[in-house]
């Protein structure tokens, strides 16, 4: 319970961002909240951007005959 908030998935991140943008575009947010929302949205956008750019660790895997996952590379 006391653990850190679970890291949002890419999609959750983006959905939150979209939600904030819609809310701000609606215009009914008080200025202070709007600025706070804006800052949060900028952070979310940055996270999305970073997640996409830091894709180095991604691996393709294959399920081998023993039922184990192995790295799978295909020459291009």
């Amino acid at each position: 319970m006391a653990n850190k908030e679970k890291e949002l998935t890419f999609e959750e991140n983006l959905e939150k961002l979209e939600e904030i943008v819609k809310k701000l575009e609606n215009g009914n947010v008080p200025l202070d909240d709007a600025i706070e929302n804006f800052n949060e949205a900028m952070k979310l956008a940055k996270t999305c951007d970073e997640k996409l750019k830091n894709a180095e660790e991604k691996v393709n895997k294959i399920l081998n005959e023993d039922g184990k996952l192995e790295e799978f590379n295909i020459e291009e």
Binding site: F10, L24, N60, I62, F72
Partner: protein, 421 residues
């Protein structure tokens, strides 16, 4: 004698009549190989159907030929249905083809159509049952051959478009008799992994090569798979049963990968747009607030601060006047009250006085009635002796000295005689 001879036309017409009457010839199923194929410019097809030792002429008119889903060619093995009749002009008999299928595949097609109808009736193709394809799948399972173009295309497309997606390949046979059960078993294995999406398919091939994707068990395994499935069977014209069951159908493995993941270029554009919208909305918000401040600044009061004082002055005057008015009216009222009270007191005193006066007068009148002088006036006198009023003869005796009072004087006298009444 001449009557015994008939014309060629009569003979051919008679033979045609005989042919046309024969129920065995009016609807026959025939298989063989096409040769001498010729497509007439008006759409009719003329060819020969032959086997190793025999041949028969065939004609397929435009009406039927236009329904063919393949282009016939010499050497092609076909199965046709039609009727046998005679072309009177040449006297040659031929088959008038009504339907034609490629041999071998034809049976498969019948099976395919039967299975398609059955599964459709069971609801395996229902649009309402289709699972949505996630926008940003984190892990995608792929069921296809581990070698060959299909897996290569899929992985390189995913890498190019959306490099953060992880993939797990579930290698499978994709042609031959063992392909279908292999695919089924891999679909079941894939269901045990935490996958957001599954791509099932293979590259293009002949219709027989693709046939495992028309297998009933494959169809049912796909239908029961809890993960959203994109089918990716390399063919362009016809749909496989797998295509109908899958949540989404792609025409090629590359197409499946394109449907599975977004394009990062598009996404960056989108993110930029979101960013712009964000900036615009916050600027609008700030602008609106600035505008409000500006409007307030421009308001009469803030532009003419002295007017606040003026207005206060004026207000004070008004209040002061009101105050005065109230006070004076209060005073007037008090005064009036006072006067009224005074008047009342005076009136009451007057009334009291009058009342008392009346009483006094009354008393005086009464007193006057009692006044002995008044009696005297009428001729009565008061007789006294030693200041005591004599009211009876018993109070006096002869020779007593008495005083008789009248209105205008006294008489001193001596009693000479006393007579009783």
């Amino acid at each position: 004698m001449e009557d015994k001879y008939i014309t060629v036309s009569q003979l051919n017409r008679y033979l045609k009549f005989k042919f046309d009457q024969d129920p065995n010839l009016s609807h026959i199923f025939l298989k063989g190989e096409i040769s001498n194929y010729k497509a007439h410019s008006r759409g009719h097809l003329y060819f020969t159907i032959k086997d190793e030792t025999s041949r028969i002429n065939a004609v397929m008119f435009y009406n039927q030929a236009s329904k063919l889903n393949f282009t016939p060619e010499d050497g092609m093995k076909v199965m046709v249905t039609g009727r046998i009749s005679i072309y009177e002009v040449t006297g040659g008999y031929q088959i008038y083809v009504e339907e034609m299928q490629q041999d071998g595949i034809g049976n498969l097609y019948i099976e395919y159509e039967k299975l398609k109808k059955k599964l459709e009736a069971e609801g395996l193709f229902d649009q309402a049952k289709k699972k949505p394809i996630p926008r940003f799948p984190e892990t995608i399972g792929i069921i296809t051959a581990p070698t060959g173009a299909a897996i290569k295309d899929i992985l390189s497309t995913i890498k190019r478009r959306w490099p953060i997606t992880k993939t797990i390949l579930f290698p499978s046979l994709v042609q031959g008799a063992s392909a279908a059960p292999d695919i089924v078993s891999q679909i079941k294995k894939a269901s045990e992994y935490n996958l957001d999406l599954l791509i099932v398919g293979r590259g293009g091939g002949s219709i027989e090569d693709l046939w495992c994707f028309n297998d009933e068990n494959v169809a049912r395994a796909l239908y029961e798979c809890p993960i959203p499935v994109i089918s990716a069977v390399g063919h362009e014209i016809d749909f496989t049963i797998a295509d109908f069951v899958a949540d989404l159908r792609a025409p090629t493995p590359t197409g499946a990968a394109e449907m599975a993941v977004p394009n990062q270029k598009d996404f960056y554009n989108y993110l930029n747009q979101v960013n712009l919208r964000l900036q615009k909305s916050i600027h609008q918000k700030i602008f609106d607030n600035l505008e409000k401040v500006k409007n307030l600044k421009n308001s009469y009061i803030l532009k003419n601060p002295i007017s606040i004082y003026e207005i206060k002055e004026q207000k004070f005057d008004t209040i002061y006047e009101k105050f005065q008015l109230v006070i004076s009216s209060l005073l007037i009222k008090k005064k009036e009250d006072f006067n009224t009270k005074i008047e009342k007191i005076i009136t009451s005193i007057k009334q009291n006085l009058e009342k008392n006066q009346n009483r006094y007068l009354l008393l005086i009148n009464k007193l006057e009635v009692l006044n002995p002088l008044l009696t005297i006036k009428r001729g009565y006198t008061i007789t006294r002796m030693n200041q005591n009023v004599i009211t009876s003869i018993k109070d006096i005796k002869i020779k007593d000295k008495i005083t008789v009072e009248l209105t205008d004087g006294k008489i001193d006298a001596t009693v000479n005689e006393i007579n009783k009444n």
